[in-house]
């Protein structure tokens, strides 16, 4: 393995796609219709952030209704509120945040690329996103979808026109996701810096690749389901209506074949963010790099094989229950490997409890809890009792809020200096983390026993015996909602008072930290060559040729070991 030390400075392999396009001019080309992945990422952040606030307000409407067991909203309105809340959070908030926003900003920088593979496609994919959201919100004027984000027929067949608008909106955002998935996969396969083999990629890039694959393959299945629903609603074409030979269970199969991989689309990038944040704030190499990398791929693949665990009570063929139960339980293995690897990364490290790190630690607790309740749900006999109850609502929010949103917050605190060139207020961020963690658990933990006691989900009014805990949940949810203001205020504060950030405020080792904050429009003046995976704290940086004068970074014998001459 040891290579004889060269006597001369090794040649830095010149990456082929190293030409720099001229800088865009004019406000429109620079900020509105930009092909720069960093600007597009900002656009995703802002749009998804706005939708997060709206969907969060819808959630608070749900909690206000549930303060009283007789309800506050009329059931018809209530049904529309939770349906749009769920649809927005999945398709207009979480997926755009983790994939469109973080994926766009961070991934190309981490592989040493100047942009994604198809920048114009990136622009087109983004600009489908706001219209899709507006169409969904406009559906309130036409009778918003009211059968949950899952829109099961026959209810979804009989609902007013707003449900058809929902079909159109989600179809549109689905096209955006598919195109982004293709774009990111090609970027990761073809545009890595010289020397960056797959096992030298940062773990967020592994996560982005697995997510992109899921995006690309699964979303078209949803498109088919939506198209069929739309055709049946508008033109009477029978797919799901049993009186005309259709089957409601067919919808469930088609819908969940996408929507289960969708939850992995939502969580895998968050896993990637945690894998970046924890080593940096433990000053330690990530434990089990290859295990974490390959487990992302395993989760993506297994994620295609478990969809019917959402259908144990649907009346589908009973023999399907056992195989789906077992494969669902198997997914706990690669997931558990990640959790243990992250814990081992922290162990013995010199931990800095920054805001990003606090959210990552909170993630470890809340996501694990969510995974445990998921395991309960995977067991068919338990699921028969828990399905359609608040137990499921508790589970999904532990993995989606305690998982994805905590990951998003961690990523925001971590990469904010890189994106904006400003530091956020650390103290305020730490308060945000603690308040969110406490408020989150107080809000969603009681839902588990509410569900086990028998409170169904998606009901505007409920049995009086559940009212006590519902009041607790609602009050705590107000604190949780209010805590969002802390990070919003922090962002505004940073623009006014935040210290100017240097290239690497956290002392991290991935490539995005090797250039200025914010990066110039061309990212890297010289695309560096990569000698090793980035997590080896304590060893010299594994890069040659970083934005330096030729020859300024002399390669030492140690760092030339493993240099792969690309050909």
């Amino acid at each position: 393995m040891a290579v004889a030390a060269p006597t001369t400075t090794p040649t830095i392999p010149r990456p082929v796609l190293d030409h720099i396009h001229p800088e865009p001019t004019g406000f429109i080309r620079k900020y509105i219709f930009s092909i720069d992945h960093k600007i597009i990422a900002f656009q995703y952040f802002i749009t998804a952030g706005l939708f997060f606030i709206i969907a969060g307000l819808l959630a608070e409407m749900i909690r206000i209704d549930l303060l009283k067991h007789t309800g506050v909203l009329t059931p018809n309105v209530y049904n529309q509120v939770y349906s749009v809340h769920g649809s927005m959070m999945v398709w207009l908030v979480i997926i755009p945040f983790v994939s469109g926003a973080f994926g766009n900003f961070v991934m190309p920088l981490q592989i040493g690329a100047r942009d994604v593979a198809f920048p114009w496609l990136n622009l087109a994919a983004f600009w489908m996103f706001p219209p899709a959201g507006l169409i969904l919100l406009a559906s309130f004027a036409f009778g918003a979808p009211d059968a949950g984000w899952t829109e099961y027929p026959p209810i979804s067949l009989q609902a007013p026109f707003g449900t058809s608008m929902w079909c159109i909106a989600i179809f549109l955002i689905g096209i955006s996701s598919t195109l982004t998935g293709i774009n990111f996969l090609v970027t990761i396969f073809k545009m890595r810096a010289p020397g960056m083999t797959f096992t030298r990629m940062p773990l967020f890039v592994w996560a982005s690749a697995a997510t992109a694959g899921l995006n690309m393959v699964a979303t078209t299945a949803l498109a088919a389901a939506l198209l069929a629903l739309f055709l049946e609603r508008q033109f009477g074409v029978p797919f799901y209506n049993p009186t005309k030979g259709g089957s409601p269970i067919l919808w469930q199969h088609m819908f969940w074949f996408y929507s289960h991989p969708a939850v992995y689309i939502m969580i895998l990038p968050a896993f990637g963010i945690i894998s970046e944040v924890l080593p940096t704030f433990s000053r330690k190499p990530i434990f089990g790099y290859k295990m974490i990398a390959f487990s992302s791929v395993a989760i993506a693949l297994l994620g295609f094989m478990v969809w019917a665990h959402h259908m144990f009570t649907s009346g589908m063929a009973p023999w399907l229950q056992l195989p789906f139960m077992i494969i669902t339980m198997l997914i706990a293995i690669p997931t558990g490997i990640k959790i243990f690897s992250w814990m081992a990364t922290l162990w013995g490290g010199s931990i800095e409890f920054s805001a990003a790190c606090l959210f990552a630690l909170g993630f470890l607790i809340t996501f694990t809890l969510g995974g445990v309740t998921g395991f309960f749900l995977a067991a068919v006999p338990a699921d028969l009792h828990e399905h359609g109850t608040y137990f499921v609502v508790g589970h999904i929010h532990y993995v989606l809020y305690g998982g994805s949103v905590f990951g998003i917050y961690a990523g925001l605190y971590y990469w904010w200096p890189k994106m904006t060139g400003r530091m956020m207020n650390e103290r305020l961020g730490q308060w945000h983390a603690w308040i969110t963690f406490v408020a989150f658990n107080c809000t969603f933990l009681p839902m588990h026993w509410l569900g086990l006691l028998g409170m169904p989900r998606r009901v505007a009014m409920y049995d009086p015996e559940f009212e006590g805990w519902n009041i607790v949940v609602s009050v705590c949810s107000f604190f949780l909602a209010a805590s969002t203001l802390l990070i919003m205020g922090n962002m505004l504060w940073s623009f006014k008072n935040g210290k100017k950030a240097g290239p690497n405020p956290w002392g991290a080792r991935t490539l995005e930290w090797m250039i200025s904050s914010p990066p110039p429009y061309y990212n890297f003046k010289t695309v560096p060559a990569v000698l090793a995976a980035p997590y080896d704290f304590g060893n010299p940086l594994p890069y040659i040729g970083l934005d330096a004068e030729p020859g300024a970074m002399e390669a030492t014998p140690q760092s030339t070991t493993g240099l792969v001459h690309a050909h």
Partner: protein, 213 residues
């Protein structure tokens, strides 16, 4: 793994007159990226058809008799002989497209023109054939039964893909007339050929599923 070229000497400082080989390598890299992107797009399109095929097979599996019974009478099967004819029209267009591309690669523009035109004509013939099939299929219409639902939706989606393909090939042909491509730079033609073959293969599946099975 990027296939970055190792330059002779250092990476910087090569003047433009020494960059010709580099420009070709840039094109090759860009072409490879576009090719991968296009093939991935075709994969996602396969999933679209697969989902509807699943729906067809699932619905068909819920009843004992196929074709299903509508208004007390069993629906007739589709016109297999005509479909055999129309299928050969489409498969033939696949072969002619392949030859068109091969001739282009070898610089035989005249023969390329012939085969390209032949392909487009066959594609249009197929679409006309589908129009004839639609007007003669007595299976209760699009919304009458799950037979019509699955047949017209699937073949309709396929026909839409063929229509887009014919338009795409026509545009590509026009681009060759404008000198957009040469014998080394012809990615558009490659993509068009792959798309056309894809549309062909989807029809193989649909022909089997609706006319044979």
């Amino acid at each position: 793994m990027t296939t970055a070229a190792v330059e002779h000497g250092h990476g910087h400082g090569d003047g433009p007159d020494h960059d010709d080989g580099h420009e070709e390598v840039i094109y090759q890299e860009t072409r490879d990226m576009r090719l991968l992107g296009f093939v991935l797009f075709l994969c996602s399109d396969v999933v679209l058809f697969s989902a509807f095929i699943f729906a067809y097979l699932y619905l068909r599996g819920t009843i004992d008799e196929w074709p299903p019974i509508l208004n007390g009478h069993q629906l007739p099967r589709l016109d297999l002989p005509f479909a055999e004819f129309n299928s050969i029209v489409l498969f033939g267009s696949g072969v002619t497209m392949h030859h068109a591309l091969e001739n282009w690669k070898h610089g035989k523009v005249g023969r390329f023109d012939f085969f390209m035109g032949f392909t487009i004509v066959l594609g249009v013939m197929f679409l006309c054939g589908q129009g004839y099939e639609y007007s003669h299929a007595a299976i209760g219409g699009w919304s009458g039964s799950i037979f019509g639902a699955s047949f017209f939706t699937l073949t309709g989606m396929h026909g839409f893909h063929v229509f887009c393909g014919v338009a795409y090939l026509a545009i590509l042909w026009w681009q060759t007339k404008k000198g957009h491509y040469d014998q080394t730079h012809y990615f558009g033609l490659t993509a068009g050929t792959l798309y056309w073959h894809f549309v062909d293969v989807i029809w193989v599946a649909l022909f089997f599923l609706f006319y044979i099975f």
